[in-house]
Amino acid sequence: MPKFLCLQRKLPSPDSANSAKPSPAQMADMYAQFNAWRERHAASLVDLGGKLGSGKVVSAESADGPFVEVKELVGGYMIVEAEDLEAAATIAGACPGLVRPGSGVEVIEIHVPGA
């Protein structure tokens, strides 16, 4: 079954800057929803991944910087196994908290030679 790389994309949003932190009750809901989502798709979730931290670019020649850091664009990643792109996008899109103002997900098929 094909695998898909899911990238959390940071999107420009007018609300995201001044949005308050969720309340404890809302966080309890988020936690329960995330756990429920994870259990429902346990078979498809190859790697729940995580947030991206700081990184370093290693290249053959000294290219002209500065580069746009990937983590400025991408918040985190995970890897999902699914029949096709549509199915993978459905699973990723249902992940609580991933698709909201200021955040979206990009789902990309990973081509493995011979697979």
Binding site: K21, S23, P24, Q26, M27, A28, M30, A32, F34, K51
Partner: protein, 410 residues
């Protein structure tokens, strides 16, 4: 499966805010609240991936503690505040000192005493307690207290500022004597918190129940603490006994039900038992407080086999004593109702007419509905019709209007 209960996040929030405020001072209350939120959010993001830590509370405490010290460091307050921390610089590993359960309870109790500062308006005390000890957001508080979000926000900001004002008592360091002095204010705020849930016209029963339960939780904490007194136990008793009847107060369509209409089998026996235990515990010392008397009245209702078989004489006597302890025309009105059950409507009417009510009561639906009922039962048909019309005209909601139409038969 997650071991985390639905109230876990709110309880932890309260523990974190109280613990951090105690260690770093009420001056940083708002930062402590932010740090607690940060830690909970981190848990929400990482626990589903890494699994729940063996000791979730300790994990959260470490993260919140680090978030707060980090924030203080960036704010340049480091020297002053860390000095009071005996120079121990916290880091993620090893974790900040593990706290004992009794210590955590004491933190929260003191936080409650901080919130119930008599210098603050009672609405501000309530908002602050709901925010810090019940873990409700500004929006959630606004929804529960029928206020606007901006008003709650302003109320909280002003309260925090007042807490930091010069000369305010330092409750976190205060001795038992200071705590005892503030105890009546704490009891009054808990009582108000409870009535917000109990008497609220909020359409959602779950929300009303939640406010009642929060008041009970904090009340039990107070009554069990060494600063608790018999009045605290009586307050807890009265809250349990009232909560026992909460679900039975509304009918199937959501309308209000009178005591005489309520299905007594729907009263919660656990709450009644718990309330009776606390009432027994409150029967020491020589002070007879309004909480004792109100709990006594609630106990009479809870233990009565039916509306008719209620000991109305005893209830009328308790209301009479209540009038002495805490003068309120409402107690007189309730006493009149009990008297009407015990010795007839005429006796009730006589008591009500004996003294002119204050304007706020005279214009209220409570007053006109009671008079309409008593007059009808005493055979004063014209008076009854007049009060009935007045009651229907001043009904604040459709639910109350419906109840009046049912109750005040022509």
């Amino acid at each position: 499966m997650s071991s985390v209960s639905p109230t876990f996040f709110r309880r932890e929030y309260a523990r974190l805010v109280a613990g951090l405020s105690r260690r770093f001072g009420v001056e940083v209350l708002e930062l402590a609240e932010d740090a607690a939120s940060t830690a909970l959010l981190r848990a929400v993001e990482t626990w589903p991936r890494s699994g729940e830590p063996r000791n979730p509370s300790a994990w959260l405490w470490t993260v919140a503690h680090n978030a707060l010290t980090g924030e203080l460091r960036t704010r340049g307050n480091r020297a002053r505040l860390l000095a009071s921390q005996a120079g121990t610089e916290p880091s993620l590993e090893p974790s900040p000192r593990v706290r004992l359960g009794s210590e955590i309870d004491d933190d929260q109790l003191r936080m409650l005493f901080v919130c119930c500062d008599p210098a603050l308006a009672i609405e501000a005390q309530l908002a602050l307690a709901l925010k810090t000890l019940c873990g409700l957001s500004v929006a959630e508080i606004a929804q529960r207290t029928f206020s606007g979000e901006a008003a709650v926000y302003k109320r909280l900001a002003r309260a925090r500022k007042q807490l930091n004002a010069q000369g305010r008592e330092r409750i976190f360091e205060a001795g038992l004597e200071s705590l005892r002095r503030r105890r009546p204010a704490v009891q009054a705020t808990l009582y108000l918190l409870f009535t917000e849930g109990h008497l609220s016209t909020h359409p959602e029963l779950a929300i009303r129940r939640e406010l009642c339960s929060e008041a009970i939780r904090l009340g039990v904490m107070l009554a069990r603490h060494e600063v608790g007194d018999p009045a605290s136990s009586a307050l807890v008793a009265l809250m349990f006994l009232h909560r026992a009847r909460l679900s039975a107060r509304t009918g199937e369509g959501g309308g209000l039900l009178l005591l005489s209409e309520q299905d007594r089998s729907a009263w919660n026996p656990d709450d009644i038992a718990e309330g009776m235990c606390w009432l027994a515990a409150s029967a020491s010392g020589d002070a007879l407080t309004r909480y004792h008397l109100e709990a006594g009245i609630a106990a009479e209702h809870a233990m009565a086999p039916s509306f008719e078989a209620t000991d109305w004489e005893r209830i009328a006597t308790l209301y009479e004593q209540l009038e002495v302890v805490s003068r309120s025309p409402l107690h007189r009105l309730n006493r009149a109702l009990a008297l009407a059950q015990w010795r007839g409507a005429e006796a009730g009417l006589e008591l009500v007419r004996d003294r002119a009510p204050p304007t706020w009561l005279e214009g209220s639906v409570l007053w006109s509905a009671t008079l309409a009922d008593l007059c009808r039962r005493a055979g004063e048909a014209n008076e009854a019709a007049r009060w009935r019309a007045a009651a229907l005209a001043s009904a604040p909601s459709e639910a109350v209007r419906e109840l009046l139409l049912r109750r005040l038969v022509k």
